[in-house]
Each structure stands twice: as C-alpha cells, then as structure tokens.
Symmetry: C2
C-alpha cells in the first residue's frame, strides 16, 4: 500500500502553495518544494519498508513482565532505524542538534508514518510533544540536559496528565510534588492512560508530569509541571514504574501504562502553578496530531477498500455488464460502493487540506513578519484546533468503517487487515479531549469567548476563497457565501441563548462543531477544485473536481441536520425527567 | 445489568397492545399479557444468571483443534440449561414437540438473551432459522427426522450460503450436489462464514446447504437446498468438517467456520432449483433477528453508559454545581452527555417498537382471519424488513459507539466492558446482506417493484397514527402528515429518474433507506408518546414523551441531509473519472 504521496504533494504544492507560504514567511532560503518532496519520499520509503510490515503484528500487543514492557516484534528495530536516519530531530532546535525544519514537516512525517502504523508512530509522536513543551517552557539547564537525547531519539517522552478520577477534569489531579532542600521535588501519585509510558525502544523516558505542591490552590490553578526521567541523570533508576498496561480495543502496539510515581525525583518546569498553561502547549499540538491520525488511518483503510472494490466480482451493474468476460462485475461499478469510496476520499482529502492549512497557521504564528498576520493566524489556529481534532477523528472513524463496509463480511475478518483500522482509530475520538470537550472549547472559549473573532478571521479567508472560485465554480462560491452568512447568524443565536441559560452552550456544542466542520471542509474542497482545474494532468485534476462536487452534493447537506438540532435548544436535554436516563 | 423488562413490557402492552392484537387474530385463548410477562421474566432470569456472566469471557474466542471446536468457558453449560428449560422449542410446531407460541415470543427471547450475550445467542438463533425453513419446506419425513431434536435443542442448525467468491452474489455458488441411486445427494464444496458451523454444545448440527445439481441453470435459478447433518442418521460421521475458524473483530464467542463438504450425504429440501426461495424464508426471519441484535446490544451498551454517567464525577455544570457536596458533578448533568444518552434511548426504544410491530405483522400474515389483513401485513412486512435490518444495525452501532463515548477514555479499555459491544455489533451491518444490499432490496424490489404498494400500506398506518395524535401531540401529527407527503413525492421522483437510468436506483438507495427509517421511527415515537401520556405511572410515561420530543427535535432532522443527497442524482457517483477511486 503506497502512501498517497501524489495526493499529499498536490495538497502542499497545488492547493496550499507552500512555496509562496514560505516565501511570505522569509523561510524560502531554507525550505522549498524540492525539500518537501525529498522529505515526503524518504519518509514514505521508510514507512513502507519498516512500519507497514509490522502493523498487523503490532496488534498482538505489548507484554509487561517484572516492570519491563516488551513492544511487539519489529517495533524496536524499526525505531532504531528511525533514529539512525535522524527523523527524531526533524523540527527540533538546531542548538540542541535538531534540524530546525518548520512544523509542517513534522506533520508530513507524522502522516506518512501513521498511515503505515499508528501504534508505532505514537512512540515518537509523544516525544515531539515533550520536546515542544521543554523547548518553550524549560530552563536552559533542562533544555541542555534533555533535548539533545530527545532529538537524537535515544530518549523518548510522555505526557502524564490523567489520573483514575481525573480525566477531562485535570484540575482534580492529586499527584503530589514536594520541594526538597536541593531544589528538586519528590513526585508521588498514580497516572493512568500514559501512552508510550514504558517500553523497550529507548534508553530513557522523559515524563512530563502534572502534580500539585502541598499549598497549591485547588483546581487547575494549582497544577505544576515537572520533568521526571525514568533514569536519573546519574544513571540510577528513578522511582517511577509501570504498574499495569491496559487491555484496549485497538492500538495494541502502543503501551498504555499506569505509572506509579513513588517519590520519584522531579524538576519543576517554569513556575509553580503554571502547569496547565505549559501543558496546553503540548495539548494543542497533540490535538492537531490526533486530527491528523484520523486522516492518516482513514487513508490506510481506504487504500485497502479501493483495491478490493476493483478486484472483487459480485453481481452485474444495474445498467448492464461492465466486465462481460468475467462471472460478475467488479463491485466498484455499483453506485453505492462508489458512494462509500467517494465519501472516504471526501473526508480524507478535505481533512488533509484542513490539517496542512492549520500547519501553515502554526508556522505563521511564529514566523510571520508582521504582527497582524501573526495575530490573524493565532485567531484562526485557536478556532480551528478543536474542529480539526474532533471532526477529523469522528469522520476518520466513519471513513474507516466505510472501508470495512466496502469489504462486506470479509471486512469483519482480521485477515483482510481493515478492521484493525477501526479499532485503532476509536481512541482518537476520546484522547486529548473527547469530541464533547473539543466542542465546549470551540463554542465556549473559541467562539463566544472572543466575541467571534476567530470565526470572523476564518470567515474572511472563506470569502476570499469564494471570490477566487467566482468564475470557475460559481455554484460553490454562492454556497460558501450563503454558509458564511448562516454560520454567523447561528453563532449569534447561540450567543443570545447562552446569555439566558449557560446550558445552551453545551446543548449546541457538538452540533455546532460538526456544522462548522462541514463548512470548513467545503471551503477547502473549493480550494481543491480550483487547484484541480489548473492541474497539469487534466485527468488527475478533473478527479479532484469530481470529488469536490460529490462533497457539496452528498456530504455538505449534513449541515442541515445539525442546524435544526442546534436550533432546538437546551430544553429537550435539560428539561427531561430522570427516568429518561435510567437503565 | 438488568434486562429492560419494564421498557419491553411498555412496548408490548402499552404501545403495541399485544392483547388486542392477539384477540384480533383469535389467539387470545392461547396467549395473553400474563403469559408474555411470564416469558419475559423467566427469560430475563435465565439471561442474567447464565448468559451475561460469560459474555466477557466469550470474547476470548473459540478454539479449533483436530476438527473439534471448543466454545468459551461456560457456553456449553449455559446451553445445557437453556435446553433443559425448554426454550429451544418455544415457537416450534406442537406436532414435533414445540410449544407453538406465536413468533413474537421468539423475538422476546432473542432480545433478552442477546442483550446479555450476543455471541452465545447466535447458536440457538441459527437453529431457529433452520427450524423455520424445514417447517415450511421440508418433507414430512425430513420434519419428523430433524425437527424433534432441533426443538429440544439437542441438535442445532446452520445456514450455509456463502462461498469465498460468492457473498452478496449467492448465484455464483459452486458447491455441487449429485443425485445418488438411493435418492440422496453427495454434496461437495467449501462454505465460509458459517456461524455456529461447528461447536461442542450439541450432539449434532443440521446444516442447510445451498448447492447446484450438475445440470442446473446458472445464477440463482440453479440453486437447490439440502439438509446435511453433521452426524448421519445411522450415527456415523458425515463428510463435512470444519477447516478453519475465522479471527474476527468481535462475536469471538461464536465460531465462524469454514466448512468443507467432501461428498457429504445430503437430502434435497422441496424441489431442485427452488433453493433461493426456501432460503429467503430463513433469510427474511434472519434479517429481522439481526435488526433486533442491533437494538439488543445497543441496550446492553446503554445500560453501562447510563450507570457510568450517574457515577462519574467530572467538572461542574455550566449553570452551577449540581452536587456541591462532591468534588465535581456527575457527568450526567453536562448537556452533551445527556444528548449522548438520549440519542441511545431514542434509537433503542424506537427500534424496539419497530421490531415488535414487525413481529405483529409476521403473526398477522399467518394468523389474521381475513385475506385483506394478511395481504396488508405481508406488504408492510416486505417493505419494513430491509429497513429494520439496515437501520437498526447502523443505528445500533452508532448507539454502542455513543455509549463508549459516554465513558471517555475509559470506554476504550476492555475492562470497562463497553467496547466489546461495538466490536460485536460491527458484523450486524454486514451479514445477512449489507446495508447496501438491504437498500437495493428496499428501493428496487419493495418500493419500485410493487409500485409503492408497501409504502402505501405503511403510509396508511402512519396517517392513522397522525390522527390518533391529533389532540395530544398536534405538532407530531403535523410532522407525520408532512413527512407522509414528502416520502411519497421522493419515492415518485426516484421512480421517474430510474426509468431514464437504472443506476439511479443504486445511487439513491442507502439515503432512501435512512430517510425511510427515520420517518418510520418518527411514527413509532409518536405512538410511544401517546402511550406515555396514558401511562399509569406519570413520571415513567412523561419520560417517554420527553424522549419522543428529543427524537423529533434532534434525530429526525437527519432526514434533510438524506433528502438532499438523494435528490443530487447518480451523476456525482457514476460520471466520475477512475482516478477518483484509486489509492
């Protein structure tokens, strides 16, 4: 199964014009289209040769014995090759040995590896979050101690937030941190659901842990962040151990650990009680990475479904035989099989474009030469992050399920290799904040919280895309303008209702997120259609226009259902007797 | 986790008034409300005591060694108790030892057992299909040979249709049947995906096998049906063996077998080349049973989610603390968690009402005293069967996923016991005809094929429900009348387009099925609201009205998306370049 290199190139060069983007940021002396293509090709070669072949075996899971976690066959060897090629430091600071490429390169690497093997890709993925948090908030000493080995990949990283009673509500965390005379802290408590929390792939694991000092205020304002290495800097074993690895629905190749901190040595990152803010540095990046997992794994599932649909012979087309020399027609000739496949394409390619547009926003927030552009990018980025996370995981899961559906009964059988993608993807709707949490963030903080500034910033981009499309796709341009108006009106209505009753925010939230998401994908499908029309290979370009038309005709109408559901208000959720919720 | 006995009783007695139904069929001397309640209670006691405790262990799967399949711990013992209580013969002919209860009793038993343990329930479930086909099409000799042991449950049954290259397209089957001088046949070929095809729970297994005689015409017109017992009537082993059991995504407790027929002795059922017609006797019943699986397992998942939502404390309600004495509020106070739970309830209870309405139709087709009523029931039954199968499996799967979502990250962990329901349910969208196959059956055969007679028969019922609701729920009545008109118009439009291009049937099919399904559930939710308003326990009844209002406000609007998608026609699927389907 080849990675969809051609489609990724099309997204980066034709749809989003990364060359112009880097020129505007003054980075074009450092990064150009050739470098992008080289990284895509090399990453794809690595992923095909090393990661995809061990994906199915990874489903057997990790084994914990005597505190040691053994990863599935081949995982360790693939990781050794990954770090020997220097991938771990791709976007890291040059000062600490990184290659200092802009963030979009990290997205490309992540997408290609994740399409080949999601569970494996989470190990280096967690490191990237840890690196980002230390780069931004660590002291000079912490950076020089930890970053060099994290950037070679000799060490990996984790994020330790969740506790048994504190999931979405991180403020309930009880893990204790007590200051010692030498300036270090002793960390005590239990963290659960720690991805890549313990494994046999690296010499050391750098845990970033949220904990509470004895006199910290309650809730999220009393959370501090600590670096807690598995192996102390003097080579002794720190008092953190893996108590259990979870039996899960999928991503069995990644160890999901319960970590017991038993007065482990920890180093405070930044200042006490600022941990939540630092954690959001990682969290926002992680949310985008999870949205990308949705797209990547959906692509892997689609690859198999599209191959199967062209090979499998069942029944004749309703309009007459398409393969008269065979016993039946390939199922790709049946309209509903085409609907299944095109829905997957619409989700994957629209989603990919959203993700790389967001990557450009990330780069603009740090590299754009003028303050206005940085601010505009930050507004759009904040607004689009919960949408990208929740929409692309929900639709990625739908897409993988449609791939299973394309196989008929064979899709349920492990050997076909497609049901694993459904099981692997199921977690993406849950971790790093469920869909419900993303939707609250979107409506509460990112939309109402800043008086619609984020919506307006993206809305301006939307209208610019409509203008671009005016001549070639006037129907799409009209549709975007109409949606722009509706979206603003709906947002105002929710705001108005929320002033009367704060529960209206939660009651509208997930429908608002889906509504917004489908509108956002319509914007990007318009951009894709425009790029398709201009593509040097007419057939390839025309196929993009076809999928865009499919999206507008058969997926975008879902906005209507969400619009009506939102408009119905909080009463049908909150004014409901308790008996409606009993078993 | 109790079975939802109270809700099932409400559906049967209050919403669908089975007593009046049986009186109209002249069966009220034989079956009444007390008998229904007794069967519900006894079945529930059995399922709670014997089936639910072994559901999680069943997930470990079956083991094949030396041709012998060992079922998971406790499966065999539970089956022994099941047959010792006489459940296997509940609806069987009295002449062969059955208790001759009407078909709805089989649905009740199936629902209650399936909520407790879907994989286990499939073993007796397959027997019921085999019993039905032999009862209707077997010779007197075959019936007296096989039915008595099937009705005690000493023997179980299977349906052997699928071959590696023949899934949806049964007409491609190659299994051979050659007539012998003694009137028996020798069956040779390979069947796959045979649920309960081999196991250690019964003394013998009665396979119903589709095969082809040497001079049979091609396709489905050349298919005959044979009874092929695992153990011959003289006690010797017949030449059928289990070559493999499949590794699957779920229902691991049920053995999904590859069966090798190596000149096995078989007995022709009915006449040669009529096998497809006989098989549809089983298939239609099986499709309804699969729709019921969707509802039943969704209920099991909901039971856990609703319990968790009342116990799990995370964050404060937006409108202020609801459990000020606790560290946080139970998540059931968050509007989106309520949306998750109410969506599950709307699917499960609306779906259950549809299923038992269909059970009444089944009973009317055989017991109604007048020809008109029988004919009307048959029209509605034919029309509703693909809807019940596809809609309730698709929505059941959605519902189980929403249950996982209610748990947050914990839902992904096996220990929480909810992700298994998602994996188990995934097969229901595939077997006994995928959603796409059901939709083609609905639009091609059941709607266009009889000039809308089935739609009209159900439409008359729909208008009668609207009339009933006129006084108490005028908004629902209005909505139903509007939908009745739209549904007819949409159906006419598809018919008109199909005359120009037969691919329009397939292009509209799945959206038409979902559209129809949501309308059908609106009809039943109106009936539920009416029954709720009259219920002796006002709080309980009011909760039904609340869920009905939720359904109309937040689920039914999905029809709009499907309506627009259908109206877009076949062009956006068929006039699409091949590159849109490549990997």
């Amino acid at each position: 199964m080849p990675s969809p290199i051609k489609d990724i190139r099309f997204t980066l060069h034709d749809v989003l014009n990364f060359s112009d983007h880097y020129a505007a940021l003054g980075l074009n002396h450092q990064v150009d289209a050739d470098l992008i293509n080289m990284v895509l090709d090399e990453a794809s070669r690595f992923a095909q040769a090393e990661l995809e072949p061990i994906n199915a075996a990874g489903d057997q899971g990790c084994v914990l014995a005597d505190g040691v976690v053994t990863t599935p066959p081949g995982f360790k060897e693939a990781y050794r090759k990954y770090i020997s090629t220097g991938w771990a430091g791709l976007c890291g600071e040059a000062e600490y040995g990184g290659q200092a490429l802009p963030e979009a390169f990290g997205f490309m690497l992540e997408e290609i590896c994740c399409t080949a093997n999601m569970a494996w890709t989470m190990y280096p993925g967690l490191s990237r979050g840890c690196i980002a948090a230390l780069s931004e908030h660590g002291s000079a000493e912490q950076k020089s101690r930890f970053l060099p080995r994290l950037l070679t990949g000799e060490w990996t990283g984790t994020m330790c937030l969740t506790e048994p009673h504190a999931g979405s509500d991180v403020g309930l965390a009880r893990t204790q941190a007590s200051l010692q005379a030498d300036g270090t802290y002793r960390i005590a408590g239990t963290k659960i659901f720690i991805s890549a929390g313990e494994h046999d792939m690296a010499d050391n694991i750098v845990h970033l842990v949220l904990a509470r000092t004895p006199d910290a205020p309650g809730g999220t304002r009393g959370i501090s962040m600590f670096v807690v290495p598995k192996i102390n800097l003097d080579g002794t074993r720190n008092a953190v151990k893996c108590g259990n690895i979870e039996e899960k629905m999928g991503i069995h190749g990644n160890s999901t650990c319960e970590l017991l901190f038993e007065d482990a040595v920890g180093y405070l990152v930044g200042e006490e009680n600022n941990g939540m803010r630092y954690m959001f540095t990682m969290m926002n990046a992680a949310r985008l990475a999870v949205g990308l997992q949705g797209v990547s794994v959906a692509q892997a599932a689609y690859n198999r479904a599209s191959e199967y649909a062209r090979e499998r012979l069942q029944m004749r087309a309703l309009s007459g035989p398409k393969a008269p020399d065979k016993v039946a027609d390939p199922i790709i000739w049946h309209p509903d099989v085409r609907r299944l496949l095109l829905t997957q394409r619409a989700i994957i390619e629209g989603g990919r474009t959203l993700v790389y547009y967001v990557a450009q926003l990330v780069e603009r927030t740090s590299h754009a030469p003028d303050e206005d552009s940085r601010e505009n990018a930050q507004l759009q980025l904040d607004f689009l992050t919960p949408i990208a996370k929740a929409l692309l995981t929900e639709l990625g899961f739908e897409s993988a399920n449609l791939a299973v559906q394309t196989f008929g009964g064979h899709g349920f059988i492990r050997e076909a290799g497609v049901e694993q993608y459904v099981r692997d993807l199921r977690i993406t709707l849950l971790y790093e904040g469920t869909t419900g949490i993303q939707a609250l963030d979107l409506v509460g903080r990112k939309m109402l919280g800043n008086q619609g500034a984020g919506l307006q910033a993206f809305g301006d981009f939307m209208l610019a895309v409509a203008d671009e499309a005016e001549v070639e796709f006037p129907d799409m341009a009209d549709k975007l303008r109409g949606l722009h108006e509706d979206w603003a009106r709906i947002s105002m209505e929710i705001g108005g209702r929320a002033m009367q009753d704060p529960e209206e925010v939660g009651a509208a939230s997930v429908d608002y997120l889906f509504y917004s998401g489908y509108v956002v994908l319509a914007v990007f499908w318009t951009k894709i259609a425009l790029a398709g029309r201009q593509h040097e290979h007419a057939d390839y370009g025309a196929s993009k226009v076809d999928i865009a038309r499919f999206y507008f005709a058969r997926v975008l109408p879902r906005t209507r259902a969400h619009e009506l559901a939102m408009a119905s208000g909080a009463g049908n959720l909150m004014q409901v007797g308790e008996l409606a919720f009993t078993a």
